[in-house]
């Protein structure tokens, strides 16, 4: 009882302005810090590079936003990306041997695989969570393992090279990264879906109070299913673009990045408790913030082990801020 009474003493009220503008403050401090450490950091060229590098993961962040606003979770996104990338690489190997790689049809197949793999995993998650009511954490942990297993078996743990995807993932059009244009287009579309359509509003309602939503006749199961489907499809696409960016796909391809994706969303103000968050500016802020950290550390020649520490710190910070902001049952 004493501790319960003592909690309000750690006044979250005093923290309120910080929490509200926290990400912006962190962002500015980071730019100042990295900028003073390396004079090439705060340049237009680097800003474009940063956006380009953050874009594939950013597309997965848009997807996970849809799952998080219904108080769901998707741990399978990173392995979804891996499976998508591996199957694309195998198909490209086959097409390379047949000499058909580079034709328009080959790109249709490549994109088809990415979206198909994503949709399959998304649907599996959707059925498990929405239809059978399995806790999202466990359902998506299961599909994560299955996706990784299939990818390892299919690839025989080999490293694949996919230089042909470079023009999409690393190319520029009028000096602007193509992947970032794709990211911006998707942000535009999915912000519209979440903000302006009845479907999006229903998702927000479900995230706020799923039982009430059910009671007043919103089709909770179907809406949830589609949220996981969207998340899966965008993760599959992210896998394709990430593969093109690195040029190579090894067994550790984006391993563990589901937490980076989730914490990007949470840093962008999308609550793990559901019912709160936006694609624009929310998810975009998270994407850019995490991108800045990764880019800045690269420029400082930080030790690879330091990334893990920073990644942990980012997740901690994001979740802590989210928990403090959560108002409990008084909704």
């Amino acid at each position: 009882m004493e501790s319960a009474a003592a909690v309000p003493k750690f006044s979250t009220k005093r923290l309120a302005p910080f929490l509200q503008y926290g990400v912006y403050i962190i962002f500015i401090l980071l730019i100042i810090f990295f900028g003073t450490m390396n004079h090439r950091f705060a340049t237009l060229n680097n800003a474009l590079l940063l956006l380009q590098q953050a874009s594939p993961i950013g597309i997965a962040v848009i997807g996970i936003t849809f799952v998080l606003v219904i108080a769901g979770l998707d741990l399978s996104v990173a392995q979804n990306m891996y499976l998508s990338a591996v199957l694309i690489a195998i198909a490209m190997d086959a097409m390379r041997k047949a000499g058909t790689l580079g034709t328009p049809w080959s790109f249709v197949i490549i994109f088809g695989i990415a979206l198909g793999v994503g949709a399959a995993i998304g649907m599996a998650n959707g059925v498990l969570v929405a239809r059978f009511g399995i806790v999202p954490f466990l359902a998506t942990l299961a599909t994560q393992g299955i996706a990784r297993g299939i990818a390892l078996m299919a690839s025989h743990s080999k490293v694949y090279f996919v230089p042909e995807l470079g023009p999409i993932s690393n190319g520029r059009w009028l000096g602007f990264p193509v992947v970032t244009m794709i990211l911006f287009a998707l942000i535009f579309i999915f912000d519209y879906v979440l903000r302006r359509t009845a479907y999006g509003r229903h998702l927000m309602a479900i995230g706020n109070d799923s039982a009430s939503a059910q009671k007043i006749g919103i089709n909770v199961q179907r809406n949830k299913f589609f949220a996981y489907l969207i998340c899966g499809v965008l993760a599959g696409l992210a896998g394709l673009l990430a593969a093109g960016q690195g040029g190579a796909i090894a067994v550790y391809f984006h391993q563990g990045d589901e937490f980076l994706i989730i914490s990007s969303a949470v840093l962008g103000g999308i609550s793990l408790f559901g019912g709160k968050g936006t694609v624009f500016p929310g998810a975009l802020i998270g994407i850019i913030l995490v991108g800045t950290i990764v880019n800045g550390m690269t420029m400082l020649n930080a030790s690879p082990y330091a990334y893990t520490i920073v990644r942990g710190a980012v997740i901690f910070l994001a979740v802590m801020v989210d928990s403090i902001n959560y108002k409990g049952e008084l909704r």
Partner: protein, 500 residues
């Protein structure tokens, strides 16, 4: 059937797991009336309403709505038939705006599936004006008070042309002004030709609002009476099946020496220079209006909040600073209306909750706890305190009525045989029958030599079971009324800061 009956229930039966919860209910609701529905918790009110709302099907029996057979298979059917529910937990989404909430289940969409915000905003504004809701269409619901939220919920029902609106304990989270406002709105609804079923355990409210009152007891409809032809006491009698004179149990007991003394307790301005004494075996009432400082004083006495100055003496030992841990080890217990915080594990079964605090006593060799002894212990408590539970191994604590939850909480405290109890509104949200049993438990504790400080905002119950009543006003104890001098007027005038 009578033409003025808008809704007729015929021979409704319902059982859960073999236990009958509704027996042969026959009820007629007249068009344009306010029908009160009262009954103790567990009397079957919610089950009956769930059947009406299409949440549950009846086992047997039939319903007629406006002369037509009515058999809803889900809440949507009830909705379409023009029956709306206003529950104590509202089904509004706090993260959406007022306009979005009003039309969320039927959002009009236009180009590219986009929601036609212009349309719902202007419609919402129209309704807001029509019903005098103090808000705007673009306000987020999370910023609104409970009263306004409830008005929005009612507006939602009217948008759907509801002809029957069922209010289920609507006043529990409302302030007095909001409650008055709600009653005004209900009268307006009647003028619009809406029929109202009003469920509440606050009999005063039902009396001031309703024309006819239906009483449920243990799944039976014991009567439907016109308000003018019945008294409050008769209704209570029908609800609990016993005379009002028995509502307050008495017990032969001996009041001993002073065991507790608080001297000049002060905390800010909320508790100001409070001194009093309590004796062994005494039940002392503490009355005061909202904001008088009752709860604050209780928290100081138990050490939940620190005091600025003053000290306490308990069983001859002086304390300048108390903490809950110190209090418990000295034999003081603190029971509040907040049963969740009292350590009742809501999703756990009744048995688990009872046994949890006793595991140390129940464990045998190697720390193993025998199932059989757990069962015996749980049964013992359930019998002693008369906890109404259908299946102690399956029923979760959250499915118990408020009164029975409170009994389970008390059983936990009783285990350590405390010599002093501080009870802050222990009967709030508890039905009449369980209240009686809680009073009996308190009486028995006093008989066994415990000292009880009983805080309540219900003057009647204090007068019923306390040996004397202290009255607080603005953080001070302004009067002490001994048992022989009890009168409502006297106590209230002290609580209002009067002189006499």
């Amino acid at each position: 059937m009578n033409e003025e009956n808008i809704l007729v229930l015929k021979d409704i039966d319902k059982s859960f797991f073999g236990a009958k919860v509704l027996h042969n209910i026959n009820l007629e609701v007249r068009k344009g009336e306010i029908l009160g529905l009262v009954g103790e918790n567990g009397a079957g009110k919610s089950t009956l309403m769930n059947i009406l709302g299409g949440v549950l099907p009846p086992d047997t029996g039939s319903m007629e709505l406006k002369g037509q057979p009515y058999s809803p298979s889900n809440p949507r059917d009830a909705d379409k038939a023009g029956i709306a529910f206003i529950h104590q937990e509202l089904s509004l989404f706090s993260n959406l705006t007022v306009a979005e909430n009003m039309f969320i289940d039927d959002l009009p969409t236009g180009v590219l599936w986009s929601v036609q915000y212009d349309k719902i905003r202007s419609k919402a504004r129209e309704y807001i004006e029509k019903f005098g809701v103090h808000t705007t269409s673009d306000t987020k619901v999370e910023t609104l008070s409970m009263g306004i939220r409830q008005t929005i919920e009612i507006t939602k029902a009217l948008i759907k042309n509801a002809e029957i609106i069922i209010f289920d304990e609507p006043t529990t989270s409302l302030s007095q002004t909001e409650k008055d406002n709600l009653f005004n709105i209900i009268h307006q609804l009647i003028e619009r030709g809406v029929t109202i079923i009003y469920i509440s355990h606050i009999i005063e409210d039902v009396f001031s609002l309703c024309e006819r009152i239906a009483v449920l007891r243990d799944g039976n409809l014991v009567g439907v009476e016109d308000k003018d032809k019945i008294t409050k006491n008769q209704i209570i009698k029908m609800m609990v099946g016993r005379e009002l004179s028995q509502v307050y149990p008495t017990v032969e007991k001996k009041i001993g020496d002073v065991v507790y003394r608080a001297t000049k307790i002060k905390r800010g301005t909320t508790v100001n220079d409070v001194s009093f004494e309590m004796r062994k075996g005494e039940i002392v009432g503490l009355f005061g209006l909202m904001g008088a400082g009752r709860t604050e004083l209780a928290r100081c006495l138990f050490g939940v909040d620190s005091i600025d100055s003053g000290d306490m003496e308990f069983k001859g030992k002086r304390y300048h600073k108390v903490t809950p841990e110190l209090g418990i080890s000295a034999g003081v217990s603190f029971v509040t209306e907040d049963r969740r915080q009292e350590g009742l594990l809501m999703p756990k079964t009744v048995k688990d909750n009872i046994v949890l605090a006793r595991l140390n006593q129940l464990q045998g060799s190697l720390g193993m706890v025998s199932r059989r002894r757990e069962d015996q212990e749980a049964d013992k408590v359930i019998n002693e305190l008369n906890v109404k539970v259908q299946n102690k191994n399956k029923q979760a604590a959250k499915n118990l009525s408020g009164g029975n939850q409170q009994k389970v909480v008390l059983s936990k405290w009783l285990l350590n045989k405390p010599s002093m109890f501080i009870m802050d509104e222990p009967t709030r949200g508890v039905d009449v029958g369980s209240k009686y049993e809680i009073y009996t438990i308190i009486n028995n504790m006093a008989k066994d030599g415990a000292t009880v400080l009983f805080i309540s905002s219900e003057m009647e119950e204090l007068m019923g079971i306390c040996d004397r009543i202290m009255v607080m006003y603005k953080g001070r104890i302004v009067a002490e009324v001994p048992k022989g001098d009890y009168s409502q007027e006297k106590i209230i005038s002290h609580a209002l800061g009067g002189e006499n």
